[in-house]
């Protein structure tokens, strides 16, 4: 077994209100403890807001501003611009929003912030649904997954946020997950050094929303990568692809079978997911190869 040596600032503290074993709390820890104390964070209503609050308490030793669900990117940009106007260019301003607040209602503000190349790091802590309100479907929810608003399984595929953000040709877009903490930390450190808009989507398994064991978040997030369902990669300036961790040839059933939200799947649906993952992986390899010649 590998052990990790990760240096952490003590920004995120114990005693917060996440469920024990929460994937998202782990992601927050690696993000803010890597960035350090010269940081301001924006969070929309979400589990992230629950974990960072409530007033007058805070789980983080940095200023946190809670905005509305659709406004994270715009709110973060406002802070960065004001601090810059005050000569405080060195402060890192981040947003940490869920997939509902990013793929859905917050997408317009995010796209605009990216177009303006606002100097912020935007983290989407992606648990593939509105988990804070009891697991409803978002546009990040995968094909066929059960949520309380798709009790028969979601009829359409997951939106590809990373590709959409890469198409904005911003300096840095990446995926990460809590099962690969060294990779996540590297990406946070890298993003901190880059000026302009950085978007990192972190897959953060939700124990209750996905129906997994209390100690399974890390394992499941690793399986998401190893089955090729959620490859870890970076796209710089819209066209330079780097694959960090991808499919290790494990069948998707290794990932799906561990989760209550996929319990109802038929063999045909599983086959379809497998075919989709295989196809996407081939497409992905081709894309990264083409660009390696570019």
């Amino acid at each position: 077994m590998r052990t990790y040596e990760i240096e952490e600032y003590k920004v995120f503290n114990s005693g917060h209100q996440a469920c024990p074993g929460c994937g998202e709390a782990l992601a927050i820890r690696f993000i803010v403890n890597t960035l350090g104390p010269n940081t301001v964070g924006v969070v929309p209503p979400s589990c992230i807001a629950i974990i960072s609050g409530p007033q007058p308490y805070s789980s983080m030793r940095i200023p946190i501003y809670q905005t509305t669900l659709e406004a994270s990117a715009a709110s973060a940009a406002g802070i960065k611009r004001a601090l810059s106007a005050r000569g405080k260019e060195d402060v890192t301003v981040i947003a940490m929003a869920g997939d509902g607040g990013t793929y859905d209602i917050g997408f317009q503000a995010l796209s605009s912030a990216a177009e303006r190349n606002e100097d912020i790091i935007y983290f989407c802590l992606d648990n593939e649904g509105y988990m804070n309100t009891g697991a409803q479907k978002s546009s990040s929810t995968p094909h066929y997954a059960y949520t309380s608003s798709t009790p028969g399984g979601k009829p359409t595929r997951k939106k590809n946020l990373t590709e959409i953000m890469a198409a904005h040709q911003i300096p840095y877009v990446a995926t990460a997950t809590v099962g690969f903490p060294d990779d996540l930390v590297n990406k946070v450190q890298k993003a901190k050094q880059i000026k302009g808009t950085k978007v990192i989507t972190v897959l953060t398994p939700c124990l209750d929303g996905w129906g997994i064991a209390d100690n399974a978040a890390v394992k499941i997030s690793r399986l998401a990568v190893q089955t090729g369902i959620f490859p870890l990669y970076e796209v710089e300036n819209g066209d330079r692809y780097t694959i960090n961790h991808g499919s290790q040839g494990l069948p998707v059933t290794a990932y799906l079978s561990q989760q209550r939200r996929y319990r109802h799947l038929t063999q045909e649906q599983i086959d379809h997911i497998q075919a989709d993952v295989d196809y996407q992986w081939q497409l992905f390899l081709r894309k990264s190869k083409v660009n390696s010649f570019g």
Binding site: A49, I50, Q55, A73, S75, S112
Partner: protein, 385 residues
Amino acid sequence: MSNPTKMLLTGNHAVSYGVMLARPKVIPVYPITPQTPILEKLSELQVLGELDADIMTPESEHSAMAACITASLSGVRVFTASASQGLMLMHEMLHYASGARAPIVMANVNRTIGSPWGFWPDQTDSLAQRDTGWIQYYTESSQESLDTVIQAFKTAEQVSLPAMVIHEAFYVSHSLEPVEIPSQALVDQYLPPFQPEHMLDPSRGESWGNVVNQDMYYRHRQGLGEAMDKVPEASILADREWQTLTGRGYGIIEEYRCEGAELVIVTMGSMAGTARETVDNMRKSGLSIGLVKVKLFRPFPVETLRLALVGIPKAIVLDRNFSPGVGGILHQELKAALYGMAAAPEIYGYLAGVGGLNVSPAKIEEFVCMALKEEKPSINSIWVR
């Protein structure tokens, strides 16, 4: 101190010059007719090097206001401008701004709200925001808009509340008038640099917006109310100081020829200018008519209006706005303000100029005569044209 300059300016460009003199540092703003000339002039002044501000152009008014709030909370003076649909889209963030006690100043150019689509002067857009916790000033001329923008920063920052300076589409926004632009030195003397008590800054470690319990929410709303209660006096003082420096003052309401009046016209915005002419004409023919212009609408200056209207037999309210199910919004507010007061006037509510319909001095004279003839007013607002 250097001398003021005189220019021929539209109401919108007058706002832009007022903003430039107030030295905001961040201006998140989204274009919309008939506000756009404010944004364009600010952008031009910035390129010319006369305005030292970061102009941010987000994809929507919602994001513009979201950025205004955080920029303000991060310690800089902030301005934005909007109108109509844009203001409607901001609605959620307007509440958020006052809740965050962010002293943003916004110019709103009154325009009809769809559907159906229109571009006409109608105050329903800003009046529909009356419960959002923003100070609201209604102005009637280019000069008043310029002066009020600068005054608004002063009052807003004193009480930590956002403020709207509101003038109507075209009648004010696009009409050219001679405007005196005060010197930068004068404005710097009047408006000190923005130094808020609280700030989002890693060196301060303060946060804002996370979940509170019922008791904290209750106390927060109370605090917001107490700040609002300070606005009339703060506005009067800000206006007096401005008058001392420039010779121009407006008050939170204006009483025009109300002495011994048997009827007083009560209105806001550009219609006040028209009504002033009606008053002059009718006074000339021996009728004792007066005018009360309501400049400060939020907080509603109840005490001041009571003092102005006590003992006056009749008042007519001219509303260029409409709240379905209630009628004219100023009519409704004035009735509530005077309720239970001894020697209160009978109040006649007229929906005049809704949708931007032109209301001439002669028309207002007709409305006055109508009210003088009727013994008792209707309890509801009446559609007139």
